[in-house]
């Protein structure tokens, strides 16, 4: 009943909007989930360019330590010294901001924010999010967070420089590194806004998925994308507040003289009064978000991949239920593996044993997902749209990066590998690149729905191959460097005998990184060019089953002009034996396809008929009342 009134209310709101939308309510303070999704996407792309560019700066330093960087002085000013060298403190700031921006602004907001917003109402058959206003707030909190973080890049003492994990005491003491002054304060404020944004968004996604599904859209008929977004939102809702707590205590330590994380510190020629705190406490709190965050970043990408691979293999996703169970397993386990980031942090080694067992359990559902993707490809009829290519690329990264996780999750092996480039290679593949490819797959796949036009496929292919090969050329060599023991976050390698090698390999990585970064501009061009000049899309260009393709080419606020369609089947009826076409949209009743129904579906036809009859009776009765 509640659902019905909401839907009804939205319908009137929708008509109301059509007439009164001005530029501000349509493009800026919009409450339309589709526009908010696009806002997240464009902002995410902006941040991806910034984050990528920062990485190019420090890759120049690592690949070409002798290089004269004076040409960067117009941009970086005093951070390039007289001799044309990058300042080591600013190097750390670059690493820190690259991590923060990529993890939170690009792969959390840019990925989850874009596609949860855009797809949830369209794929479950809802007029909009449960609360359009909260949704709008969610974007604008994110925007404010971004503005603050952006400002911090330009202040005199530099942005935060303690690594993206901002471990205290380094992040708490200005004496320790200049970035821990104003830069860190801005970082904390920006993250507070970001957390608020994530929570507002997450509550909305969860509420919408639970309450606003259209008739017939049971949980067992939800596309895997929606399952992924739903579980991602649950993870975010449970873990982001813990980051907030960690940040809040850090604020207290920094500004109000408390000692949550500080103890026995002698710095800058004086002994600080703080005693009794524990830096390890911060690490526990941070990684209680930090590890689930990996899955916040990854699950939406896996959801998108499931959808894209099934559609373009013209096959149902293999093991739909197993996929959901794996995601549920990952969701739950993601909360109890955090301390595998801390095997050598000085915490009790017994705790290390426990977390090693829990960590390697989480590898099982991940493995199941990979095998299911492979089986979905098997005996399919594969169409390589750019989205499909990026999805296959994602699976490859997920395997490569996932397998190295088995080394790092094993505490005995982790002793040597911890905080070396092996870790850098691992998480850039499994979380960074895999999620980025999920984001790309999503953009290429849903671009026709977003803008009513097609992106150019050939540019997409070029973009894919350059990026796919590029990512491997950047991150695969890092495994060797990591096995050799090169530590992370090093400004250069010449101080140590054991790292005084591989200058050639580091140079190679840097060149590959620059090319890969440059290749992204092919995408940027394709994106904006196609938005205005791309080929007009058809209503269902990928011949897909899900509900969003039943909307008009450019759906208005409210998504469907008439009634919201009813759903009669799961979203993966591709290449069903007996059917004329190789896809049957979710809106086609089972009773309309007797030729392709499976035995158990044939039995449901009767039930379906009864329900449909009852409904039409109600409709007739209502009509006569009016």
């Amino acid at each position: 009943m509640a659902t019905a009134t909401v839907a009804h209310h939205d319908e009137t709101a929708h008509e109301h909007h059509e007439h009164h939308d001005n530029f501000i309510t349509k493009y800026i303070f919009t409450q339309d989930h589709k526009m908010i999704g696009k806002q997240f996407l464009i902002t995410g792309m902006f941040w991806a360019i910034i984050g990528g560019f920062l990485s190019i700066l420090f890759r120049l330093q690592l690949g070409f330590p002798e290089m004269d960087l004076s040409f960067l002085r117009p941009l970086l000013g005093g951070w390039i010294d007289e001799a044309g060298k990058l300042d080591p403190t600013f190097y750390l700031a670059l690493v820190t901001m690259h991590g923060t921006i990529m993890v939170f602004f690009v792969l959390t907001a840019g990925l989850s924010g874009t596609f949860s917003n855009y797809l949830i109402p369209l794929q479950i058959g809802a007029r909009d999010m449960a609360s359009g206003f909260m949704n709008m707030l969610s974007y604008w909190f994110f925007f404010v967070s971004g503005v603050i973080m952006f400002i911090s890049l330009f202040i005199k003492t530099g942005p935060a420089g303690g690594g993206w994990v901002v471990y205290p005491p380094l992040s708490a003491l200005e004496q320790a590194i200049p970035g821990s002054g104003l830069g860190m304060t801005l970082w904390l404020i920006a993250m507070t806004f970001f957390i608020a944004s994530s929570l507002l968004g997450g509550i909305n996604y969860i509420t919408t998925v639970i309450n606003l599904r259209t008739k017939g859209m049971s949980f067992s008929r939800l596309p895997l994308t929606i399952w992924a977004f739903f579980l991602t939102a649950v993870i975010g809702l449970l873990s982001f507040p813990v980051l907030f707590a960690a940040a809040l205590l850090l604020v207290f330590d920094r500004s109000f003289g408390t000692s949550f994380y500080l103890s026995d510190i002698y710095i800058g020629g004086e002994a600080l009064p703080n005693t009794g705190g524990s830096p390890v406490l911060y690490q526990h709190l941070f990684w209680f978000l930090g590890h689930p965050e990996v899955y916040i970043v990854l699950l939406p990408a896996l959801g998108i991949t499931s959808e894209v691979i099934a559609t373009n293999s013209r096959k149902p996703i293999f093991g739909y239920k197993a996929m959901i169970i794996s995601m549920l397993g990952i969701t739950i386990l993601s909360f109890i593996v955090w301390a595998h980031h801390m095997f050598v942090s000085g915490m009790n080694p017994f705790l290390g044993s426990i977390f090693m067992f829990l960590t390697l359990i989480i590898a099982v559902p991940s493995a199941v997902k990979v095998f299911n993707y492979l089986t979905t490809l098997w005996r399919g009829n594969l169409i390589f749209t750019p989205a499909m290519l990026f999805s296959i690329g994602l699976v490859s990264f997920f395997i490569s990066g996932g397998l190295t996780g088995i080394f790092l999750g094993n505490s005995a092996i982790d002793i040597q590998l911890h905080d070396t480039y092996f870790v850098v290679a691992h998480f850039h593949l499994v979380m960074g690149s895999a999620s980025f490819f999920g984001l790309m797959a999503g953009v290429y796949h849903w671009f026709p729905k977003m803008f009513g036009r097609m992106m150019d496929a050939r540019l997409g292919y070029v973009h894919f191959w350059l990026t796919f090969v590029g990512v491997y050329l950047v991150f695969f060599p890092m495994h060797y460097i990591g096995i050799a023991g090169f530590p992370r976050r090093y400004y250069n390698w010449t101080n140590f005998e054991f790292t005084n090698m591989y200058t050639d390999l580091n140079m190679f990585v840097s060149v590959a990184a620059i090319i890969t970064f440059a290749a992204q501009f092919i995408f940027i061009f394709n994106f904006f060019y196609s938005m205005y000049r791309g080929r007009k899309a058809t209503l269902n260009p990928w011949r897909s089953n899900t509900l969003e393709w039943t909307t008009p080419l450019k759906p208005g606020h409210g998504n469907w002009p008439g009634e919201i369609p009813t759903v009669y089947r799961w979203p993966y009826d591709y290449s069903k034996p007996g059917a004329a076409e190789d896809f049957i949209p979710q809106t086609v009743p089972l009773s309309a396809t007797p030729e392709s129904n499976l035995p158990h579906e044939q039995e449901m036809v009767k039930l379906e008929m009864e329900i449909m009859k009852e409904e039409s009776d109600v409709l007739v009765a209502n009509e006569s009342k009016h």
């Binding site: 149902p316 996703i317 293999f318 359990i361 399919g380 169409i383 088995i406 292919y461 090093y490």
Partner: protein, 345 residues
Amino acid sequence: MYGFLIGVGVLLLFSIIWMVYRIQTLVSVVKGSDKKIASGSNKVNAILFIVFLVGTGILMFWYSIKEFDNYQLPVASEHGVITDKLFWITMAVTGVVFLITHILLFVFPYKYQYKENRKATFYPDNNNLEIIWTIVPGVVLAGLVISGWMAWSDITAPAPEKAHVVEIMGYQFAWEVRYPGKDNVLGDYDYRLITASNSHGVDFTDKNSIDDFPSPKVVIPKGEPVLFKIRARDVLHSVFAPHMRLKMDAVPGMPTRFWFVPTKTTEEMRAELKDPEFEYEIACTEICGRGHFSMKKVIEVVEPEAYQKWLVEQKTFIQNNPALAEGLTPEMKELAEIQIRESKK
């Protein structure tokens, strides 16, 4: 100069792509291939997957074999041999999975590329398969975890009582080393006692600290257990001795530890590597500020006899700086003075 070159490169890349793009678009419009479900590019992409598989596969094997001696650091501790073995076992297991899954991932796209007259197989689930590939990875992982856990338990077990104690303290941006002296017990310390002449903050009112001595490098005996007592003075650091396969964070306010048995002296390692300059090193692996990349300390592993000889030769804090004994109780002062006199003999 570089900037200019990069700029030109990017510009060139763009113009080439632009031209290719326009030509391709026009050609596909003429051919009408943009109306088809899968254009000719489908085949090209399918072939490229195979090319990628073969190309990167060859590159990976060639480089892994060629560079093996470079990236495989020689190991010089007892537990390091075990963790290295675990590493390579895991590498073998994951390597096989890596190859098989990638061959399937890239061969399937080639084999099952779109054909107009073929229909994909409707194959939505198979519970037996799901069970198999839940249980098999589970069992394999359990094997890996249990062997890892046994190694981990041994490595992190309490150090043997006879272990030689060395204290390593990290600060921005170096390490300082303190030995417990004859009693093999480190004296108390307090960060509030740190001064220019007492950088460790050693509490000399504690009897155990009278014979403590500093050292410019870590000297340890071969074949005997050594216990590193690790602490930090300002921010987090992490002691990383790559050849010892040793890593442990240095945490202000929370002393940590790591014990191990070195198996090769510096001289032996020099002979093995044919590098007369070789030194065991300690590096920092926890971001700690501007000088994070330069926190180096040398470890010298010597024969046990040489170690005992070296121990006797060292001068204690108090012998180096008698002023430290000022302000002690008469009883303690006497002990200190005996020491100072001994050193002058």
